[in-house]
C-alpha cells in the first residue's frame, strides 16, 4: 500500500533517485553522525577542538579516501566553527589553482585571493599596499595596462582573482608569476599576516578569529618531472611557510602522501594528519556489524524522510520503498561502509525497477553491476595480494597494495576494542569477496601455506 503522498509515483521515484546523487553532499538536514562506527572519528574533536583550544594559530592536514564523506565532514566542521564564532573561509582549490601543475606559490595566492574576497577591511589594506609597491612588475600578469591609481578600490581587490584566473589558464604566466612570487614570498606572507591580524582586530570582541579551509588540494597530481616531487616541495620543503600564517589553516593533503614513508616528516612538520575512515559494516571476525549497517540505514532514512516523513514509517519503509528489510540491509552491507558506493548501489537498484518497491532482484542486479566495475579495476595479477590481505587483515604498505587501497578494492576500518585500544584493520571490499578469482586465490594461498 502506498502512503497518501501529494505526487505521482513517477515523481516520487525521481525524488528518491535524486536524493542519492553520488556527487552531492547530503541534502540539508540529512547529515548523520557516524563517529561511533568510524572508530570514534569525529571531525569536531580531531580538527575542530585543536582550533578552539589553541591560543596560537594552528595548521592541520586532513585526508581520506575518495567518496567516504570528506567534504561532507569539512562542511560540518565549518558549521561548528561558525557557531563558535569563527570567520571561516572555505574554498575549493580547483577554482584557483591549476592542480595538475601546482606549486606552493599557487596555494599561497589562492589563500590570499579567498581571504581578500571574504573579508572587507575598514582600514588600510596591507595586501593592496603590497600589490601597489610591486605593480609595475605584476601588471602584465593581471593582463592590464592600467595604472594603479586609476583603479577603483573594488577593481584593486579584484586583481587577486584576476591573477589567479589568468595563472590557471596560461601556463607561461604561471611560471613567470611563480618566479616573481617566490622572490617576494616573505613580503607577501608578511602582508597577508598583517591583513589577517588587522581583520581579526577589527572583528567584534565576541568573534574568535579566522580559519582557512582549503578543500580539494588532495587532488593535486604528483609531478616529479623536475626531479623533485611537487608534493614534497609543497608539503615538506615549504611547511614552515604553509604553517606560517597568522590564522588557523586546514589543508587537505593527497592520501598517497599519508601512505608513503614521507608521513613521518609530515607528522614532524604538522602533527599527525587526520584520515577519515570507512563506516565499519563488518567486524574483524568477518561478521556483519549491525551498528554500522544501522548507521547507513539511518543515512538512507534521513533522505527519505526529507521527501516525505511517512516513507520511513516501518509499514512503508520495508514494504513500499524496499520490498523487505533484508534488501535494505544487504545494500548497506555491500557498500563496504563507503558512502558513495552506497549511493551508486541505491541509484542502480532504482534503475532496475519500473515502480516501487526496490526489490531483492533489483538490488542484486545493482550489486552485480558494481562488481563489474571492481572486476575491471583489479588487474589480472592482483588476486593473490587481495587474498593475502583478506587473511592477514593487515595493510602491508606495498605500492601495489596502496593502489588497491586507493581504488577501494581494499578498505580500512577502525574501532576501539574492549580494552579501549584503537584498532585499525584492512580487508577486501565486500563486493570483491564474491569473485571466483578471489576464491581461487584464497584456495591457492591455503595450499601454499600448507
Amino acid at each position: 500500500m502506498a502512503p497518501d503522498i501529494q505526487m505521482s509515483e513517477d515523481e516520487l521515484i525521481s525524488e528518491i533517485y535524486s536524493a542519492f546523487e553520488p556527487f552531492n553532499p547530503p541534502p540539508e538536514g540529512t547529515y548523520v553522525n557516524c563517529d561511533n562506527v568510524r572508530g570514534r572519528w569525529n571531525i569536531q574533536r580531531e580538527l575542530g577542538n585543536q582550533i578552539v583550544r589553541s591560543q596560537q594559530p594552528t595548521c592541520q592536514l586532513y585526508s581520506g579516501h575518495r567518496g567516504v564523506g570528506k567534504t561532507t565532514e569539512l562542511l560540518q566542521l565549518r558549521g561548528f566553527l561558525e557557531k563558535k564564532g569563527y570567520e571561516v573561509v572555505y574554498f575549493e582549490a580547483q577554482n584557483d589553482v591549476e592542480l595538475q601543475d601546482a606549486e606552493y606559490a599557487d596555494i599561497l595566492l589562492a589563500c590570499t585571493k579567498n581571504l581578500v574576497q571574504a573579508i572587507q577591511l575598514k582600514g588600510d589594506n596591507p595586501l593592496l599596499d603590497w600589490m601597489k609597491s610591486r605593480w609595475q612588475s605584476l601588471k602584465d600578469l593581471a593582463l592590464t595596462e592600467v595604472e594603479w591609481n586609476d583603479l577603483k578600490l573594488e577593481q584593486q581587490l579584484g586583481l587577486f582573482s584576476k591573477m589567479t584566473a589568468n595563472i590557471r589558464a596560461v601556463p607561461d604566466l604561471r611560471r613567470e608569476l611563480r618566479k616573481r612570487l617566490n622572490d617576494s614570498t616573505p613580503s607577501l606572507i608578511a602582508a597577508l599576516n598583517s591583513f589577517i591580524e588587522q581583520a581579526q582586530a577589527e572583528m567584534p570582541a565576541e568573534r574568535k578569529g579566522i580559519v582557512i579551509i582549503a578543500d580539494n588540494l588532495d587532488r593535486i597530481a604528483e609531478n616529479t618531472s623536475s626531479g623533485r616531487s611537487n608534493f614534497d616541495e609543497i608539503y615538506l620543503n615549504r611547511s614552515e611557510l604553509m604553517s606560517g600564517l597568522s590564522c588557523h589553516v586546514i589543508y587537505t593533503v593527497p592520501i598517497q602522501m599519508i601512505y608513503s614513508p614521507r608521513v613521518t616528516r609530515l607528522e614532524n612538520n604538522y602533527g599527525k594528519p587526520d584520515i577519515l575512515p570507512m563506516v565499519m559494516v563488518k567486524s574483524l571476525a568477518g561478521e556483519l556489524n549491525a551498528l554500522g549497517v544501522d548507521k547507513l540505514k539511518e543515512i538512507i532514512c534521513r533522505r527519505l524522510h526529507r521527501i516525505d516523513p511517512r516513507l520511513v514509517e516501518p509499514e512503508y519503509l520495508t514494504n513500499y520503498v524496499f520490498d523487505s528489510a533484508e534488501t535494505l540491509g544487504r545494500l548497506c552491507a555491500m557498500s563496504g561502509g563507503h558512502m558513495r558506493v552506497l549511493m551508486q548501489l541505491l541509484q542502480k537498484s532504482i534503475d532496475w525497477i519500473e515502480e516501487l518497491p526496490i526489490t531483492a532482484e533489483a538490488a542484486q542486479i545493482a550489486i552485480e553491476e558494481q562488481r563489474d566495475t571492481y572486476r575491471t579495476a583489479i588487474m589480472g595479477d592482483r588476486w593473490m595480494l587481495l587474498a593475502k590481505t583478506h587473511t592477514s587483515k593487515m595493510f602491508d604498505g606495498e605500492e601495489t597494495s596502496l593502489q588497491m587501497l586507493l581504488n577501494r578494492c581494499l578498505v580500512e576500518y577502525r574501532y576501539y576494542d574492549e580494552s579501549s585500544q584503537l584498532k585499525q584493520w584492512c580487508d577486501v571490499h565486500p563486493l570483491v569477496e564474491g569473485f571466483d578469482q578471489f576464491k581461487k586465490a584464497l584456495l591457492k594461498l591455503d595450499s601454499d601455506q600448507a
Binding site: 525521481s14 533517485y17 575518495r66 534503475d351 532496475w352 531483492a360 542486479i365
Partner: protein, 539 residues
C-alpha cells in the same frame, strides 16, 4: 523481435562437458583445477541478475528509466561500440520524447571538454548530452612498452582526464541541468577508472552493451597447429601424463636453459588445450625468464592472456613477439582480436592489415577486419572486406552470416536473405543463419516463411528461446492469437528468467493482440509467478 546473431569462427576448443568426463582417481586432483566450473557456486539469484544485465533489451530499459528519472546533472557511461552508441542515441530520441538529447561527436584529440559544452548554442535547451569519441583523446597516450605490464599507468596522463578530474565540481555547478553520457570503448572506460578516478567516482552508472557472445569468443591462432590439435584430442589421463612428463624433463638439473624454455612453451600449449590458462601463463613466464628473446614464448603468453581476458597485457605480449620476429602474422592477427575486445577497432583494423601485408590470403584476418568495420558503423566497407574473405574461402559460412547481418543493417534485406541461404547451403545445421533469415523475412512482412525459418532453427536447437520469441512475434503480427500466446509462453519457460514478460509488455509486435484476455492473462500469470519466486528467494 530480438536482434540478429553474429558469429566469428571459433577454434574447436574442448567444451567443459567433454573435459568433465569420467576422471580416474589418480588424475582427479590435477583435473579438478582444469575443469573448475566457474558458475558452480553462483546462487540462482546472482545468475538471474547476470542474465538481466546481459540482456540488451533489459539493460536498455534500465538506461531509459535512469535518464527519464534524472532531474539534472549526472555522469553516465555507456560501454559499447561506436555503432551501438549511435543506435542507442537514435532509439532514445523515440523513447524519451520528453527529454532533449544532444550529441557531441569528437573526431580528434581535445584537452578541454568544458569549453566545448559551454559554447554550444543549444546548451540551455538540452537535458542529456551524448559525448562520443572521447577515446581519440586517450589513445595517443597509450604506448606499449615491451614487458611493461601497466597499460594505463604510464607516466603520461592524457590532459583530458586531468581536466575532467580537476574540474568535476565545475561541471556539476555549471551544467546543473545536464546529464553527460559518455559513450566509451572498454579501454577508455578503464582509462577513466585508473587515471581520472575523482571524476569517474561521480558516475551514476555504467551500462555495458557487449557484442553478442559469439563475437567475443574469437579464434586464437595457435602456431603449433598440428601438435595443438593432438593436445586437444588427449584424454584427461593422457593429458596429465603428458604434463607430468614435460614437467619432469623441464626439472632435470642438467637441462640447458634453451631446451628448458622450449619444453615450457610446449607445456603451456598442453595446458591451453586443457583450458587451464592460468597455469599456461605461469609456464610462459618461466620460459621468458630463461630466454627473454624467444618469440614463441611471448606469443604463447599472449594467447594465454587473451584467453584470460587480460587483453591489454596480451597486446603487449604480442608486441614483444613482433619486436623479436617482425613477420609473425599470427601475433598481428591475435593482437587484432584483443584490440577489438577493448574497443580499439581502428587499431584492430591496422593489426589485421599488418597480418594481411605478410599473408594476403589470410581470410580470417579479412573476415575479422570486416567485423571491426561493422562495429564502427562502416558497414559498406565491411561488406567489401567480407567479400574479399569469401573470395579466398568461399565455404566460410560464418563470414557469409556476418555479411548477411551487415546487409540487413543497411536495410538490404533481400540480398541478406540470399546470403543467409548460401551459409545454410554450406552448413545445413547452422541454426544462427536460419534464425537471422527468419528475422529478415519478418522485416519484409513474410511471416509465414519467417515462421518456417524459425522452425528449422528450432529443429536444430530445441532450446533456442530467442527463436520461440520471434516466432511468437510473427504469429502476433499475422493475428494468430493462440499460436502467439503458446510460443511466447514457450520462450518464457525455456529462458527461465522471465525477461520476455517485460519485453513483450512493450514490444510493438504484440500491439494487435495486446488487449486480448489470453495475452493479458499469460503476462499476469508469469508476473505473479515471478513475484512469488522473488519472495521465496529471500534469505
Amino acid at each position: 523481435m530480438s536482434t540478429s546473431n553474429e558469429s566469428i569462427e571459433i577454434e574447436p576448443l574442448p567444451s567443459e562437458n567433454e573435459l568433465k568426463k569420467e576422471q580416474s582417481a589418480d588424475v582427479k586432483t590435477m583435473a579438478q583445477s582444469i575443469v573448475e566450473n566457474q558458475s558452480a557456486n553462483q546462487s540462482g539469484m546472482e545468475r538471474a541478475a547476470r542474465d538481466r544485465i546481459n540482456s540488451h533489451t533489459d539493460l536498455y530499459r534500465s538506461l531509459v528509466r535512469a535518464l527519464k528519472r534524472r532531474r539534472g546533472f549526472g555522469v553516465l557511461f555507456l560501454q559499447c561500440t561506436p555503432a551501438k552508441g549511435q543506435e542507442i542515441f537514435l532509439q532514445l530520441q523515440t523513447d524519451l520524447p520528453q527529454k532533449q538529447i544532444g550529441r557531441l561527436t569528437l573526431t580528434e584529440q581535445i584537452e578541454n571538454l568544458k569549453v566545448l559544452i559551454e559554447t554550444r548554442a543549444d546548451l540551455d535547451t538540452l537535458n542529456v548530452l551524448f559525448i562520443e569519441g572521447i577515446e581519440h583523446s586517450l589513445s595517443p597516450y597509450i604506448e606499449s612498452e615491451i614487458g611493461h605490464n601497466d597499460y594505463y599507468k604510464l607516466e603520461v596522463l592524457p590532459p583530458i582526464l586531468d581536466h575532467l578530474n580537476l574540474h568535476r565540481e565545475n561541471f556539476r555547478n555549471q551544467f546543473r541541468h545536464l546529464c553527460l553520457v559518455f559513450v566509451v570503448p572498454p579501454f577508455a572506460l578503464k582509462y577513466f577508472m585508473y587515471r581520472a578516478v575523482d571524476f569517474f567516482s561521480w558516475h551514476s552508472g555504467i551500462w555495458t552493451f557487449s557484442p553478442p557472445e559469439e563475437e567475443l569468443t574469437k579464434e586464437t591462432v595457435i602456431v603449433l597447429d598440428v601438435r595443438y590439435s593432438e593436445y586437444l584430442a588427449l584424454s584427461d589421463k593422457e593429458r596429465v601424463e603428458k604434463i607430468l612428463n614435460l614437467r619432469d624433463l623441464t626439472d632435470q638439473k642438467n637441462q640447458p636453459d634453451e631446451k628448458r624454455s622450449l619444453l615450457l612453451i610446449e607445456l603451456a600449449w598442453v595446458l591451453c588445450a586443457a583450458q587451464d590458462f592460468e597455469s599456461a601463463l605461469g609456464c610462459c613466464e618461466e620460459a621468458i625468464s630463461l630466454q627473454s628473446d624467444n618469440e614463441d614464448a611471448w606469443y604463447a603468453k599472449g594467447v594465454a592472456l587473451s584467453a584470460l581476458g587480460r587483453n591489454e597485457e596480451a597486446i603487449l605480449a604480442y608486441d614483444a613477439t613482433l619486436s623479436i620476429k617482425a613477420n609473425y602474422h599470427e601475433a598481428y592477427y591475435n593482437k587484432g582480436g584483443d584490440l577489438f575486445d577493448i574497443g580499439r577497432e581502428e587499431e584492430a583494423i591496422a593489426a589485421y592489415d599488418a597480418a594481411l601485408a605478410i599473408k594476403p590470403d589470410y581470410h580470417k584476418a579479412h573476415s575479422n577486419k570486416g567485423n571491426a568495420l561493422s562495429a564502427l558503423g562502416r558497414t559498406e566497407e565491411a561488406i567489401a572486406v567480407y567479400n574479399v574473405a569469401l573470395a579466398i574461402e568461399s565455404d566460410d559460412y560464418e563470414t557469409h552470416n556476418n555479411k548477411g547481418n551487415a546487409l540487413s543493417a543497411l536495410g538490404r534485406t533481400e540480398e541478406a536473405l540470399a546470403v543467409y541461404d548460401v551459409a545454410i547451403k554450406i552448413a545445413s545445421d547452422y541454426h544462427e543463419a536460419y534464425y537471422n533469415k527468419g528475422c529478415g523475412l519478418s522485416d519484409l512482412g513474410r511471416h509465414k516463411e519467417a515462421i518456417a525459418a524459425y522452425d528449422t532453427a528450432l529443429s536444430i536447437r530445441p532450446d533456442y528461446h530467442e527463436a520461440y520469441y520471434n516466432k511468437a512475434c510473427s504469429y502476433a503480427l499475422s493475428l494468430q492469437l493462440d499460436n502467439a500466446v503458446t510460443f511466447l509462453e514457450k520462450a518464457i519457460i525455456l529462458d527461465g528468467i522471465n525477461k520476455y514478460i517485460e519485453t513483450a509488455k512493450t514490444d510493438s509486435d504484440f500491439d494487435a493482440i495486446r488487449d486480448r484476455p489470453e495475452f493479458q492473462s499469460l503476462i499476469a500469470q508469469y508476473e505473479q509467478k515471478q513475484h512469488s519466486e522473488e519472495r521465496s528467494l529471500e534469505p
